[in-house]
């Protein structure tokens, strides 16, 4: 490897943060003091390169200890991992939660995304700005000095839309801490910025249906103690894995196939087919990834399962691994979920202690391990191939397909990637059988489905209904529009979804139902906007979101998301270029280019919500032409 190291030297604290994660250096060639042996030999090569996947966790370690990643720290990490500093810089700057410019140890991230801004998030940001100055972007931005203790920043969706407005406090130091909380008041936010602790004691999981005997996926959430393996077992836990061992891998895949379960992450790919494809690959090893990166604005269902029923994630991953021949599973968890991380870590440890993970799961001779890998604030890393690059220690840029993940995924090996909700459904399939499961819902959409209700709704939270319920059913279940206001629009499926009108509420929320209506279920987002909402503002926020989150790898998306946002700004300002019709035609052309030519789903859907706002809501019907 050609290492052109920088002159900058890491501080003792920075070295310690890296060493605490990677272990101490072994020679003068990897960052330690020169030893006599170093004069005549050095090892590296494949062994050193195989450590590349430790890059992102190591960057997390520096960020968590120091609060930012200095040139010295970066240089030391380059020496330790034999990765060029420029390469590491490319990775570090890819992620929003990592900083290569000085930051104070404490940062308060305030959500100003679509779920929160209408619920006081934008007002909160403005109030904080008034009181302590603009959001911090680094010493080169509006701030010429680095706040001593705490900085505040605006953030995209934090996945706490049921407690809007949401905030995330990260605290770097020898004992780093992070806390996601909401709803946050201006007074609370200012107290935190002044150095106070994050307010505690809120209910974190909102399951308005809790206790309903009809619940299948959520039946344990807010019922069992999420820290207790015994409690999990007392409520049906690990019966699924037992059954899997009894019937064997092929039969498990058969049950899943017969259930007609389709992926819940957004793409709705038949899960059984995916599993069979991975299981059938002769190349070893196989890897399993639980996609727990849920970052679609308005989505928080997976967080609720991870925090409220973490053992269900572990058990269902173990089943998936058993069925498809994986010995190593990864949970790719978004970096904004510290509580979910704590719960999952605890569950993994407890499962390992009880022989439910490790070299001999349940005494059946099956080896399976799970490791959590944390994202660091990059929406794109929810894309399955971007996860591979992120875990491997590269910029989280999606890969071209083919090869498909089942052929060559993580570390180039056959890989199964499933969303949290998808995996948890497998427990239900093994409990009642694939055929019985397939009888739930409709012909084309089987099983129960989680929906995230947020925005202007009376009782926000995660709801579980069998497929077939209409949009109106869900809105009614959640108590209707907040304060009984008239409904202006519903955003279905998140930022990558579509807006629908109040007169479309009888749309059945099935894959086939929304497809017929030209909509999407996406990740199950149902965000309500009442008559007071400024929808143009929401659309602009969505456009800004995609511009910010585009990884920049492919041109249609990198350029298109910028041009789309610019066009919307012109429309908002009444300065449509060439007149309204021409500007809308341009917007459409940009959107189609992104849809047709982008590598991954981000670019392909970046125009969807905008398009629906224009065509379904007629957002610009009364606009001035400029």
């Amino acid at each position: 490897m050609d290492l052109h190291l920088l002159k900058a030297i890491a501080t003792p604290d920075e070295r310690d943060a890296v060493d605490a994660h990677l272990g101490p250096p072994t020679s003068g060639w990897d960052g330690g003091a020169r030893q006599p042996r170093d004069a005549h030999t050095a090892s590296g090569g494949h062994e050193a390169r195989s450590e590349r996947h430790r890059l992102l966790p190591a960057l997390h370690a520096i960020q968590a200890r120091i609060g930012w990643i200095s040139e010295g720290a970066l240089n030391y990490l380059a020496e330790r991992l034999t990765v060029p500093p420029a390469d590491i810089f490319g990775v570090a700057t890819f992620y929003g939660l990592l900083s290569t410019v000085p930051r104070p140890p404490r940062v308060l991230h305030l959500c100003d995304d679509i779920g929160c801004r209408g619920k006081g998030g934008e007002a909160l940001c403005r109030a904080v700005e008034q009181a302590v100055g603009p959001a911090y972007h680094g010493p080169e931005g509006p701030h010429h000095t680095i706040p001593e203790a705490t900085a505040w920043m605006r953030s995209p969706c934090l996945g706490l839309c049921d407690h809007a407005p949401a905030a995330l406090l990260t605290e770097a130091g020898p004992k780093p801490a992070a806390r996601l909380f909401g709803p946050v008041t201006t007074a609370q936010a200012l107290a935190v910025v002044e150095g106070g602790a994050a307010p505690g004691g809120q209910d974190r999981i909102r399951i308005p249906q809790a206790g309903d005997p009809g619940l299948r996926l959520l039946r344990r959430v807010n019922v069992v103690d999420p820290a207790s393996l015994d409690d999990y077992r007392a409520h049906g836990g690990y019966l699924g894995l037992r059954r899997a061992f009894e019937i064997g891998p092929d039969a498990v895949i058969r049950e899943v196939t017969e259930s007609k379960l389709a992926g819940r992450g957004g793409a709705a790919f038949p899960t059984g087919r995916k599993w069979a494809a991975v299981a059938g690959q002769g190349v070893r090893p196989h890897y399993l990834i639980c996609n727990a990166d849920e970052s679609e604005p308005g989505t928080f269902k997976d967080r609720v399962i991870k925090e409220g029923d973490p053992f269900a994630v572990i058990e269902s991953m173990t089943i998936a691994g058993f069925a498809t021949g994986c010995e190593q599973g990864y949970i790719y968890l978004r970096g904004e979920y510290p509580e979910a991380r704590a719960r999952l870590s605890q569950a993994i440890e407890a499962a390992r202690r009880h022989g439910l993970l490790g070299p001999d799961v349940m005494g059946r001779g099956y080896r399976f391990e799970i490791e959590i890998r944390e994202g660091a604030g990059a929406y794109i890393c929810g894309e399955e191939t971007a996860i591979f690059n992120s875990i491997e220690g590269f910029r989280g840029e999606p890969r071209n397909k083919p090869p498909f993940p089942f052929q060559a995924g993580l570390f180039g090996k056959p890989t199964l990637v499933n969303n949290v909700e998808t995996l948890v459904n497998v427990l239900e399939i093994l409990r009642i059988g694939g055929r019985a499961y397939a009888a739930i819902g409709t012909e084309g959409s089987t099983g129960p489905r989680l929906f995230c209700l947020s925005g202007s709704v009376e009782r926000p939270g995660v709801y579980e209904v069998p497929f077939g319920a209409t949009l109106r059913d869900l809105v009614t279940l959640a108590g209707g529009v907040a304060e009984g206001r008239p409904l202006q629009a519903v955003l279905l499926g998140g930022a990558a979804g579509v807006f629908v009108r109040p007169d479309e509420l009888d749309m059945p929320l099935t894959f086939e139902g929304v497809r017929a209506a030209g909509a999407t279920l996406g990740s199950g987002v149902i965000m309500l906007f009442d008559d007071r909402a400024d929808l143009l503002d929401v659309v602009l926020r969505i456009a800004a979101f995609f511009r910010d989150e585009s990884c920049g790898q492919c041109v249609p998306c990198r350029v298109g998301t910028v041009r789309q946002e610019e066009a919307l700004h012109r429309l908002k300002a009444g300065r449509a270029r060439g007149g309204l019709t021409t500007e809308l035609a341009l917007l459409e052309e940009i959107g189609l280019a992104m849809k047709d030519a982008s590598i991954c789903g981000l670019g392909q859907t970046a125009y969807a919500a905008v398009e629906s706002a224009v065509k379904r809501l007629h957002l610009f019907a009364g606009a001035r032409t400029g």
């Binding site: 004069a39 030999t41 590296g44």
Partner: protein, 539 residues
Amino acid sequence: MFGAGGGTNTYREVEETDVVFLWGANARENHPIFFHHVLKAVRRGAALFVVDPRRTTSAQWADAWLGLHVGTDIALANAMAREIIHQGLANEAFIRRATEHFEAYRVSVETYTLAYAESVTGVPADVIRRAAETYARADRAVICWTLGITEHHNAVDNVLALINLALLTGHVGTHGSGVNPLRGQNNVQGGGDMGAIPNRLAGFQDWTKDPAVKAKFDRAWGIDMAPTYGKNLTQMFEAMEHGELRAVYAIGENPAQSEADQHRTERLLTGLDHLVVQDIFLTKTAEFAHVVLPASSSWCESEGTVTNSERRVQRVRKALEPPGNARDDQWIISEIARRMGHDWGHPTGEAVWNEVRSLAPMLAGMSYERLEREGGLHWPCYDESHPGETFLHSRLWKEPREGPAAPFSVVEHDPPVEMPDAEYPFQLTTGRRLDSYNTGVQTAGYASPLRRGESVDLSPEDAIRLGVADGAPVRVTSRRGAVVAPARIDTSLRAGLVFMTFHYQDEVKTNVLTIDATDPKSGTAEFKACAVRLEPMTG
């Protein structure tokens, strides 16, 4: 090897091998194109071992770097051999069928224990063992070397030590296994192919040993060739020293700056009765010449062929007319012949090539038409229907073996002629950097962002001991001369070892320091090792 002067494998095979040894070769910087083939192998999973006194940029890519002391390659190779034999990893079937003199070799390496080798080379015993095991156990393995092996007073012995390892393990004569000297220019191999060496004619044919060869060439050229070898470059300078050689015709060579002990070289060149230099630049040597013949650039102003390190003969086409009065080399040579009374006319490149084909069986099948159609061919290629051979010596794997047995050679460790002592406590080794080529004739004319100018590179430990800061001027003195160059602190060096290039001969004449200790068998000087003293310049 074993009679034919060329590497045994193609680049493609290097990509498809399992273990690569770069031995005395910093290919990352000096053979960057070849290194890309190595990297393809590495990315496919091949192990890379680099043997070099410095931890070069090539070594940084390696699974293991064996940082031996300069000039201890034979000790290392023999210790690896002993370890391979003792572990029962020698390829006995191959040894029995294809080689001879194994017993003498086995006895000779017995004294090279790991402990002894560690004491001589500095390389930890466990690393030597790992290298031996990895090489011997590999299904396919190649050893590649360059000047780190050959710029020594015992260059041929060094090469033989490496060939011994290949014979011991049977890593020669199959796809992806072999021994390969890397060539420093696009057509170094081609020069040898054409007979531009003092002891072989075109196609590596020895007219002094084989009467049929002599008869063939005598008949073709209408002469009676004397059955004696010519002189190699080192012998030529010795002959100049003794007054036997009074006139020199140098074509595309700049010995004034590329030879060791530069003061002596200059003295001998300026003392000649007649010096003719034919080159595309006015080199330092040309400045001493009585006649300078401006030649054409062979890669764009001339028709012909080149042969690369993988023995692939390729066509070169003329794209430009030479500038000014510059002439094609073939034209110049033909004109000189004519004026000396031999009118060859002015044959085309193809006509010359066809004559070579008619006399050198290994090139016979390579018509211009085929070379163009097939994108080049690997020699040997005996007739128009022969596809050319990717790897050499497959005969060694025929049962029974075809042709003569490949001999093991007993070679013993012999340290560099000039070792550091109290007066000259540092060992100077020389080499090349990525951005420059040899004396800079071909590279100094353009700018490179990588080029830093000459420096004396030394270890951080020595810099501290001498009180030298990075960039501070240092006087480097050997028994033969002294130069001044800025210091560059380089962690790739260990205490006691310093490194310089000879890219900037006009500014820093590194070769006034180097020693003219040459290998009697190859004529190569020991550029890789001499003893020097370092003194920080004050004020």
